[in-house]
Symmetry: C2
Subunit: 413 residues, 2 copies
């Protein structure tokens, strides 16, 4: 996609798109959600795909968790304040956001650690059916940690890893494929991959599909159950606004839970954690994805943050997300001189997540200057300007303003 | 150790020991530290070996982390508020408490996950020297998660696990021993194991020693560097008061860091995390123990909690810990009818951690009743009353009162 020349010298273009933004904001069914977040009017926060904004419910809840639950009840809170069951309780809160029926999602550990559980778990299930399966296919453009962890999982289970572009997965599948690890949305380009189609292809080849939902959970409908996904992991501090480093989630499809054999069988995943048995007997359901003692402060901040989803339909989120990114692309096209940036994110809705990536050679310097104007996106090496669009708290006027300040910044760098 | 008959009907015994407690409290060099914790006068908290009490510095610090660092600075806090470097910065704060010079301790993930990193890492180092080493010895009385995780580590690295009582480790060592996983203090009995002697024996056999410091870090001097420990893990929510589920720490001895090959090579442990390289290149030093994005709220609560150690000498902590447990045992002997409980914790100082375990058949019911009196210990299946003594916030009058209420409870259950 190319951008037509208008530049920053055409105030009538600004006025036109600003008026359209006002109209779109007035029609926005999610517009009241913004009031549930801490945001300032001086900036446009387009980095919610890296760290979501603070939901207003969090500070008071955590003050109570620290002051009363920890400070006064102390050890009693493990039972009386529901700390012990938080990983599965919060998992159930996330489950409908990723299209999962109850009993399949647990919140614990980092995304990387959950990728390890999921990939080793998937390989073991695949080999339980057919010992000859010894290859793991991994998205060649993956966020790096998935690739690093998949390499480690392969090394420890006697498999090899083959990096493959997601579109080439169907051709790469074969009788040796044990598991395929894919990203639902590419962290760099914002490209949305075909989760239903690729999962079906993986199954046709007799392998298991493991999806990384870091950039889709909370941004668009995922449909884990509906599309037959085997295992999935996802982050909670991006579009789920759980706070910096909030624990990740693990989905293990119900039909696989009996065979899910975690490489991290910690005492929290034991069927009787306080039985203090010398041998590991896994708990039923998603509980066997738990490992060690849950990090309660981070977990309960996430739980409070998830309150913003009350009454929200994911279809409305998706519709607004696409409207926001469409509008941003139109504003960029109108304001930014042709050739100054290249739009990396696909134009087709079926291939777009909730972010827009623009390429320009001086992206690092541009983003630094842009952030100084109050428009906060991020830079991804070597040449990507990345903008995330969180439908729950962004409006169309924000988007128009961001594009305008981006154009001015590109004009002056 | 038996207890002599006195029972709850001898008020003169109470008066005598209560007077002694007052004298000991007056001489206590750590007595001002209690004011740095949130505690109430209605209870005696003897469960700090499970969840440490709340340091007063935590609530205000976390309110600022959430409200300003997350709420206002948002993504900028990863650099501007020092979030990114928190795992190693807090590691350096813990290092002197376990006798480690800088560059060897990092805080991240749960204890269970760190046991996995440490045991697989130790096995790989041992086999790098001698491929024939394929056995892992594990403390037969270990807290269960260590045993479960060691089994998984063994299975994934082609080793076997042999449970051994710590005292029998020297005899069990041999040319096939790769690594030995031991607890510094037994979680159930409170027995302190001989870390210097056992580590030396492990080294003499050409193997690596991995120590679990969950029940010793913050309770007594550990001396990791001085005693040549290879790898260690420990919990931060017990005697380090970091809060429920606060992340654990990992120690990798400087001389092993070049060969430390983590089974969880997440992007946070990469030498250039934002380089987004397809291949993993480990960071130097303790940084390679990092995995995924750190859970900032839990981490920074821990950091604030560690402020209570300012100006504290571990030798004074150890001296007071032993004095507290000695005094508790004397009070129990004076107040509790002979034969009602069996003291499980060793009498010798060299073999005692910072807890006292008493055995009685009806321990579960006794502990429930005792907690109702305001004396908070815990029950460990099947028959153990467990009492932890945190020298920073407990006094001798607390101890006398706890023993008195315990005697009364034992008399009425």
């Amino acid at each position: 996609m190319s951008v037509t020349e208008t530049g920053s010298a055409h105030p009538e273009a600004y006025a036109h798109l600003a008026a359209e933004a006002a109209k779109l904001d007035a029609q926005d069914v999610l517009r009241d959600k913004r009031a549930e977040f801490v945001l300032d009017e001086d900036s446009v926060y387009l980095d919610g795909n890296s760290l979501g904004a603070l939901p207003k419910a969090v500070p008071g809840r955590i003050a109570d968790v620290i002051g009363r639950e920890w400070g006064e009840l102390r050890i009693r809170s493990w039972t009386e304040s529901g700390w012990w069951t938080a990983p599965e309780r919060i998992g159930e809160r996330i489950a409908p956001l990723v299209g999962a029926a109850p009993g399949q999602v647990v919140v614990a550990d980092s995304t990387s650690v959950n990728v390890f559980k999921a990939v080793v778990g998937a390989v073991r299930i695949a080999r339980g059916r057919d010992e000859a399966r010894d290859e793991i296919l991994v998205d060649a453009a993956t966020f790096p940690t998935d690739g690093y962890i998949a390499e480690s999982a392969a090394r420890l289970t006697g498999c090899t890893v083959r990096p493959v572009q997601p579109g080439e997965v169907p051709a790469a599948l074969g009788p040796r494929t044990a598991a395929v690890l894919l990203n639902h949305v590419d962290y760099r380009t914002g490209r949305l991959h075909d989760l239903p189609g690729l999962t079906a292809a993986v199954h046709e080849a007799g392998a298991l599909a493991v999806w990384d939902l870091c950039h889709s959970a909370g941004a668009l409908p995922v449909g884990l159950d509906a599309h037959g996904v085997d295992l999935a992991v996802g982050c909670t501090y991006k579009f789920l606004n759980g706070g910096p480093g909030a624990p990740a989630f693990l989905y293990v499809r119900a039909e696989h839970q009996g065979a899910f054999d975690s490489p991290l069988p910690g005492w929290n995943g034991h069927v009787e954690p306080f039985g203090m048995e010398p041998g590991f007997r896994p708990a039923d359901g998603s509980l066997r994805g738990r490992v060690g003692t849950p990090d309660i402060l981070s977990l309960l901040a996430l739980e409070a943050a998830l309150g913003v989803w009350d009454g929200v339909e994911l279809d409305a989120v998706r519709a607004k997300s696409l409207a926001l990114t469409d509008f941003f692309l139109r504003c960029v096209e109108a304001y930014v001189p042709e050739g100054r940036v290249e739009v990396v994110t696909p134009a087709g809705h079926a291939e777009r997540g909730s972010q827009v990536a623009l390429r320009c050679a001086d992206a690092a310097a541009v983003m630094e200057r842009l952030i100084a104007t109050g428009v906060v996106g991020d830079f991804r090496s070597p040449d990507i300007l990345r903008f995330g669009f969180t439908p729950l708290y962004l409006g169309f006027a924000d988007v128009e303003r961001a594009a305008r300040l981006l154009a001015e910044t590109l004009d002056t760098v």
